[in-house]
C-alpha cells in the first residue's frame, strides 16, 4: 500500500501543471458552492436588517387602518395574552419637524419607553447624557442627523411635533443600527412615550403595538385572536416567510444557476484530465497487474489520486469560499447600508464549510470514476502489452440524445407551471449544457467539412490540413466544449444583466411626468397650490392602494393606481396596442382593471378574465381589459372605484409635468410648501436609485460568470498542451516530410482558431438557449423580464472565443514548432 501511495504522490508531483489545474477547478467549485449556500443566510440577514428597523424582533404589529374609529387604542386587549408573550411594546408614532436655518427637516418620531426599545429593537448609543430616566422632553437622534445639523448631546433642539412646539434635550446620539438605520433622506428620532402622550393628549393608549410570542409556533393562533380582539385595526405579521423567501430567492437563485455552470465546467475538466491520467498510467497499471495486483487495487491507485485532489481542492475551496462570500456580500449590500457603515456580518457555519468541502471531494471522485471504470475494463493482456486504443470514438447516438436534450430543454419550459418553474427550468438549463457537450463532436466534424474548402481558399494547404486535423480530435472537442459552456454562461449573465437593467429603466418609461410629490393628507387644494408654482405645467393627483391581495392567489398587486380618464393618457405612457383611449374609457364603465405584463405572465391572465381583489370594502370582482408592459406587479383601475373600494381619501402622490428646469421646479415646490414638508423626487432620481442597487447585484453575478470563463480558459490551455503533447509524433512526421516551422505554427494557430470559431458559435447558440429558459426561471421568482437579444454583440463573443483559443495555443504551438524531430518521431 505504501508503494501505491508513493506512486500516486509521485504522479501528482510529476505533472504539476495538470495537478494544479485539477485542484484549482475543484477549489473554485467548492468555493462557489460554499458561498452560494451561505449567501442565502446572508441575504436573509440583510433583508432582516433592512426591514426590521421598523419593528425589531417583533412578530405581530397592530396599527390603525381606514376602518379604525381612532388612531389610538388601548393595549389592554393584547395584554391579556401577556403570559404567552415575550413582550408587548406600545408606542406612539408621530411626525415632527425641525427647523435648521432656512430648511425644515421632517422626522419620524417614535414615542416609546427605552426599556421596551431595548427588548424589541435595541438602540446603540454613541454618546449619551442624562438618558435615564427616559421621560419628559428628551430626544435621541441619529449620528447622521447630529453630524448633518451640528447637534450635540447635552444641547437642545426645537421641534414641532404634531403642531406642538417644544425644546427637547438631546440625551443620546445613536449609531446607525436598528431603528436608526436611516434610508435615504429619512430622519428618525425617539422620544419618551409620556412626552408623546402629552402631545396627543391621551394617557395609556398607543397608535402601534408590537408583540413577540414566547413560542413562535403560536404566532398564527395569536394573529387570529388579536384580529378578533382588534377587529377594526390592522393586525399583521411583521415579516412573512414568503416575503423573506421571495427576497432571498430572487438573488440566490441566480447565484445557484451560475454555480451549476461552474461545477459543470470543473467536472468536465476533471473528467477529461482523468481520461488522460488513466491512459498515461496504463503501462504502470499493466506492470502492477502482471505482478499480482488485483483490479480493485489498481483502481484504488487512480481513485486515491482523485480523492487526494478532492481533499486538497475541497479544503482550499472552503477556505477561499469565505473570501468569495465576502466579495459577494459586499456587492449585494445596498449602497445606503454601506454609506451608513452598516456592512453585513458574514454569516456561515460549519455545515456550509463541510458542504463546500464535500462538493469538492465528491465532484473529483464522480468526475474521475467513469474514466477509471473504463480503464479497469481493458483486458489484462492489452494493458500489459500497452495495446490500448488511445483514440476515442464517439457513439453516433450521442448527437440524437444531445439534440433531444437540447430541443426538449427549449420546449419544456413553455409548459412548466410557475410554482415549480425555478427547479424545473434550472434542470432544463442543465439539459442544454449536457446537450451541447453531446452534440459537439458531430457538429465539429460537420463544420470541419464546410471549413475545409473555405480554409483551402483563405489559408492554403495548411488551412486544409488544420481542418482535417480537427476530425475526431478529442482534445479539440474538449476544448470546444469548455469554450462553449464558458461562453454560454458568460453571454447569458451579461445579456440578462443588460436586459434586467433595461427592463427596470423601461418601467419608469410609463411615467410621462418628471416630478413626484407626496405630503400627508394631500388633497385637491394642495394640488392647486402646486399648479400655481412657476414651471409646473400640469398635475395629476394620484390615488393609490398598496399590497392588494388577489383572492385565491398567493401573490398580491404591489400598487393599484387610480386612473382619471381625462388626464390618464397625458401622464401615463402605457403600450395598450393603440387602444389606449378606448381601454381607459372602459375603466370608468365598471370594475375593470388594466394589469402589468408581469402579473399577466405570473398568473396566466387573459383579457376578459375576472379577478377578485380583497379590498377594504370586501371582495370585489374586476374584469381584465388590458395589459401594460412593466416588471412591477402593478395595475390601474378607475379612480372612482379605487376611492370607494380601497377607502382611499387622500392623494398618495401628485405627479407633476414640469418645464425643462426640473431641478428649479423641485426647489420651488420645496420652498413654497416648507410647512407641509413634502417629499419631492424627480423620476430620473428614482430611476437612478433603482438602477444602481440592481447594478450591484448584477456585478456580483458577472463576477461569477468571469470565474466560469477563467476556469474554462485554464481548461482550454491545458487541453492544448495535452493535445500537442499527444500529437507530438504527428507533428514530427509533418516536419520529417518537409513541413516548415512556420507552417507548423500556422497550422496550430488555424486549428485553435477553428476551435475558437466552433466553440464561439456553439457558445453563443448555447447562451441564447439559456437566455430562452432564463425568463421562465425568473417567472418562478416573480420577476418576469423579456430578454433583449443583442445579435450584434454575439459576434464579439465569437471573437472572444477565438481570442481565448488562439492565445491559449500560442505557447504550446511555439514549443511544438521547435520540437526535436527525432525524439518525437521515435516516441511511441
Amino acid at each position: 500500500m505504501a508503494i501505491i501511495f508513493k506512486f500516486m504522490i509521485k504522479n501528482i508531483l510529476e505533472k504539476k501543471l495538470r495537478s494544479i489545474m485539477i485542484i484549482f477547478s475543484i477549489l473554485v467549485s467548492s468555493a462557489l458552492f460554499f458561498s452560494t449556500i451561505a449567501i442565502s443566510k446572508n441575504l436573509e440577514e440583510m433583508y432582516l436588517k433592512q426591514i426590521s428597523k421598523y419593528f425589531g424582533s417583533a412578530e405581530i404589529m397592530i396599527s390603525q387602518n381606514d376602518n379604525s374609529p381612532s388612531p389610538f387604542f388601548s393595549p389592554k386587549g393584547a395584554e391579556k395574552y401577556d403570559d404567552s408573550m415575550e413582550y408587548i411594546v406600545g408606542a406612539l408614532k408621530g411626525t415632527g419637524f425641525y427647523k435648521n436655518e432656512n430648511q425644515s427637516v421632517k422626522l419620524d418620531i417614535q414615542g416609546v419607553d427605552l426599556d421596551d426599545m431595548e427588548k424589541m429593537n435595541p438602540i446603540v448609543l454613541a454618546e449619551k447624557e442624562n438618558t435615564y430616566p427616559f421621560n419628559g422632553k428628551k430626544i435621541i437622534i441619529s449620528k447622521k442627523t447630529a453630524e448633518k445639523y451640528g447637534l450635540k448631546v447635552g444641547t437642545t433642539m426645537e421641534l414641532d411635533i404634531e403642531g406642538t412646539y417644544n425644546k427637547y434635550f438631546i440625551c443620546g446620539i445613536a449609531e446607525p443600527t436598528g431603528y436608526f438605520l436611516e434610508y435615504g433622506k429619512e430622519v428618525c428620532a425617539v422620544v419618551p412615550r409620556d412626552s408623546m402622550e402629552g402631545i396627543y393628549g391621551i394617557k395609556g393608549n398607543v397608535n402601534v403595538l408590537y408583540l413577540k410570542t414566547k413560542n413562535i409556533a403560536q404566532k398564527d393562533f395569536f394573529l387570529r385572536e388579536l384580529s378578533s380582539e382588534y377587529s377594526r385595526y390592522q393586525v399583521r405579521e411583521t415579516l412573512t416567510n414568503s416575503e423573506r423567501s421571495t427576497f432571498v430567492n430572487r438573488i440566490s437563485t441566480s447565484f445557484r444557476l451560475m454555480t451549476i455552470v461552474v461545477l459543470f465546467i470543473s467536472m468536465f475538466i476533471i473528467y477529461t484530465s482523468f481520461r488522460v491520467i488513466s491512459m498515461e498510467r496504463m503501462p504502470v497499471i499493466g506492470t502492477f497487474r502482471s505482478i499480482g495486483a488485483t483490479k480493485s487495487m489498481t483502481n484504488m491507485v487512480l481513485t486515491s489520486e482523485s480523492i487526494l485532489y478532492g481533499i486538497i481542492g475541497g479544503s482550499l475551496g472552503s477556505i477561499s469560499g469565505i473570501g468569495i462570500l465576502k466579495v459577494m456580500v459586499f456587492f449585494i449590500t445596498p449602497s445606503w447600508l454601506k454609506e451608513a457603515n452598516q456592512y453585513i456580518d458574514m454569516q456561515f457555519n460549519a455545515i456550509h464549510i463541510i458542504g463546500g468541502f464535500l462538493v469538492g471531494l465528491s465532484m473529483s471522485v464522480i468526475s474521475s470514476i467513469i474514466p477509471i471504470i473504463i480503464a479497469s475494463k481493458y483486458p489484462i493482456k492489452d494493458v500489459v502489452l500497452n495495446k490500448i486504443e488511445k483514440n476515442v470514438s464517439y457513439k453516433s447516438n450521442r448527437i440524437w440524445v444531445g439534440l433531444l436534450l437540447w430541443v426538449g430543454a427549449l420546449i419544456i419550459p413553455i409548459f412548466i407551471p410557475s410554482s415549480i418553474a425555478i427547479i424545473a427550468n434550472t434542470i432544463c438549463a442543465v439539459m442544454v449544457i449536457v446537450g451541447i457537450i453531446l452534440i459537439i463532436p458531430k457538429l465539429t466534424n460537420m463544420t470541419i467539412v464546410m471549413l475545409q474548402e473555405l480554409y483551402g481558399v483563405l489559408f492554403g494547404n495548411e488551412g486544409i490540413l488544420s481542418a482535417k486535423n480537427l476530425r475526431n480530435n478529442k482534445n479539440m472537442i474538449n476544448t470546444i466544449s469548455l469554450l462553449s459552456i464558458g461562453l454560454s454562461a458568460f453571454l447569458m449573465i451579461n445579456t440578462f444583466s443588460v436586459s434586467l437593467i433595461e427592463a427596470i429603466a423601461d418601467s419608469f418609461g410609463i411615467m410621462d411626468f418628471q416630478i413626484q410629490v407626496s405630503v400627508e393628507n394631500a388633497d385637491r387644494s394642495f394640488e392647486s397650490t402646486l399648479r400655481s408654482i412657476d414651471g409646473v405645467l400640469d398635475t395629476y393627483g394620484a390615488y393609490e392602494a398598496y399590497s392588494v391581495k388577489i383572492d385565491g392567489k398567493d401573490e398580491e398587486i404591489s400598487i393599484i393606481y387610480g386612473a382619471k380618464s381625462d388626464k390618464f393618457m397625458d401622464f401615463f405612457d402605457l403600450d395598450l396596442e393603440g387602444k389606449g383611449e378606448e381601454i381607459v374609457k372602459k375603466l370608468d364603465q365598471g370594475r375593470n382593471i388594466i394589469i402589468s405584463s408581469t402579473l399577466k405572465i405570473m398568473m396566466d391572465y387573459e383579457v376578459g378574465d375576472v379577478i377578485t381583489l380583497e379590498t377594504e370594502k370586501g371582495k370585489e370582482n374586476y374584469e381584465i381589459i388590458g395589459f401594460f408592459s412593466t416588471i412591477g406587479q402593478e395595475a390601474f383601475i378607475s379612480e372612482k372605484y379605487l376611492k370607494s373600494d380601497m377607502n382611499v381619501k387622500f392623494f398618495s402622490q401628485i405627479y407633476i409635468k414640469s418645464s425643462s428646469d426640473v431641478e428649479g421646479v423641485v426647489e420651488r415646490i420645496k420652498d413654497k410648501n416648507q410647512k407641509r414638508f413634502p417629499e419631492v423626487y424627480t423620476v430620473e432620481e428614482m430611476k437612478q436609485d433603482t438602477l444602481s442597487s440592481n447594478k450591484q447585484i448584477m456585478s456580483a453575478m458577472q463576477f461569477f460568470s468571469i470565474i466560469a470563463l477563467i476556469i474554462g480558459a485554464i481548461g482550454i490551455a491545458n487541453n492544448f498542451i495535452v493535445s500537442f503533447m499527444e500529437r507530438k509524433q504527428s507533428f514530427a512526421v509533418f516536419r520529417s516530410i518537409g513541413m516548415e516551422k512556420r507552417q507548423v505554427l500556422k497550422m496550430i494557430l488555424l486549428e485553435s482558431m477553428s476551435g475558437g470559431i466552433i466553440g464561439g458559435v456553439i457558445g453563443v447558440i448555447g447562451g441564447i438557449s439559456l437566455l430562452w429558459i432564463l425568463p421562465y426561471i425568473m417567472i418562478g421568482m416573480g420577476l418576469p423580464i423579456s430578454i433583449n437579444y443583442e445579435f450584434g454583440m454575439y459576434l464579439l463573443y465569437i471573437l472572444a472565443g477565438i481570442l481565448i483559443a488562439v492565445v491559449s495555443s500560442i505557447s504550446p504551438g511555439l514549443k511544438t514548432s521547435k520540437l526535436n524531430i527525432i525524439q518525437a518521431i521515435k516516441y511511441e
Binding site: N391, L465, F734, I737, E740, E828
Partner: protein, 223 residues
C-alpha cells in the same frame, strides 16, 4: 555516375549531462544516383543517426553533407524543409502515418506541404496507389490497415513528390517476414524501375541483400 549524397568528415557528439558521447566519428560516404544502399550495424552503432543527419532531421556536430550538390549546413529551415519535401522521401520503422488522415490524404501530404493543388496530382496518386497495391484501401484510415499496408502507404507518401532519394529507417523492422519481403520487393522495384536512390538502415541481412552496396557502421565509424 552523379553523386546525390556526399558526406565528408561527419562527426556527431551528444552531450549527456557531464559526459559527451561520440555517436559518429569522421564519416565519409558518397552515394550515387540510382544506388540502393543498406547501412548495417549493431544497436547503438549510430546508423539511424547517420540516416537522420543525411535527411536533415538532425544536425551534425561538424562535417559536410551535400544533397544533390547543395550543402545542408548552409540551409535555413525553409530550404531544408523544401529539400525534405522535394528531394527526399522518408520511410520509418513504425510507418509514422497521420492517424486522422486517410490513405489518400497521407500520401498527398508532401504535396499539400509544398503548397501544390491536390487535384493536379490525381493521376499520379492513382499511379502510386497502383504501385503499392492500395487502390481498394485509399479511403481507409491507418488504424484500419495492417502493418504491411501502412508501410506501403508510407512508401507511397515518400514517392508522391518524385524525390531523388528515399531514406528508410528499418522499413521492415516491424513487419512479419512475408510482409517484409513484399515491402523490400517494392523498394527494389522502385529503385530499378524509377531509378530512385534508396538508403536503408537495417538489422536484417536479408533486407540488406536487396541493396547493391552495404555500408557497415560500428562504434560510430564506417568499417
Amino acid at each position: 555516375m552523379k553523386p546525390v549524397i556526399e558526406v565528408k568528415n561527419l562527426f556527431k557528439t551528444y552531450n549527456l549531462g557531464s559526459t559527451c558521447v561520440d555517436v559518429l566519428k569522421d564519416i565519409n560516404i558518397t552515394i550515387n544516383k540510382g544506388e540502393f544502399i543498406s547501412i548495417m550495424g549493431p544497436s547503438g552503432s549510430g546508423k539511424s543517426t547517420l540516416l537522420y543527419i543525411i535527411g536533415g532531421l538532425d544536425k551534425p556536430t561538424s562535417g559536410s553533407i551535400k544533397i544533390n550538390g547543395n550543402e545542408l549546413s548552409s540551409m535555413n529551415d525553409v530550404e531544408e524543409s523544401e529539400m525534405r519535401r522535394r528531394d527526399i522521401g522518408f520511410v520509418f520503422q513504425f510507418y509514422n502515418l497521420i492517424p486522422n488522415l486517410n490513405v489518400e490524404e497521407n500520401i498527398l501530404l508532401p504535396i499539400l506541404l509544398d503548397r501544390k493543388k491536390m487535384k493536379d496530382y490525381k493521376e499520379k496518386l492513382e499511379d502510386i496507389l497502383g504501385i503499392v497495391s492500395l487502390w481498394e484501401r485509399r479511403h481507409h484510415t491507418p488504424r484500419e490497415l495492417s502493418g504491411g499496408q501502412q508501410q506501403r502507404v508510407a512508401i507511397a507518401r515518400a514517392l508522391i513528390n518524385d524525390p531523388e532519394i528515399i531514406l528508410a529507417d528499418e522499413p521492415i523492422g516491424n513487419l512479419d517476414s512475408k510482409t517484409g519481403i513484399e515491402v523490400m520487393e517494392l523498394l527494389r522495384k522502385i529503385n530499378l524501375e524509377r531509378q530512385r536512390t534508396i538508403v536503408q538502415v537495417t538489422h536484417s541481412r536479408e533486407a540488406a541483400d536487396y541493396g547493391n552496396r552495404i555500408i557497415n557502421v560500428k562504434d560510430g565509424r564506417v568499417s
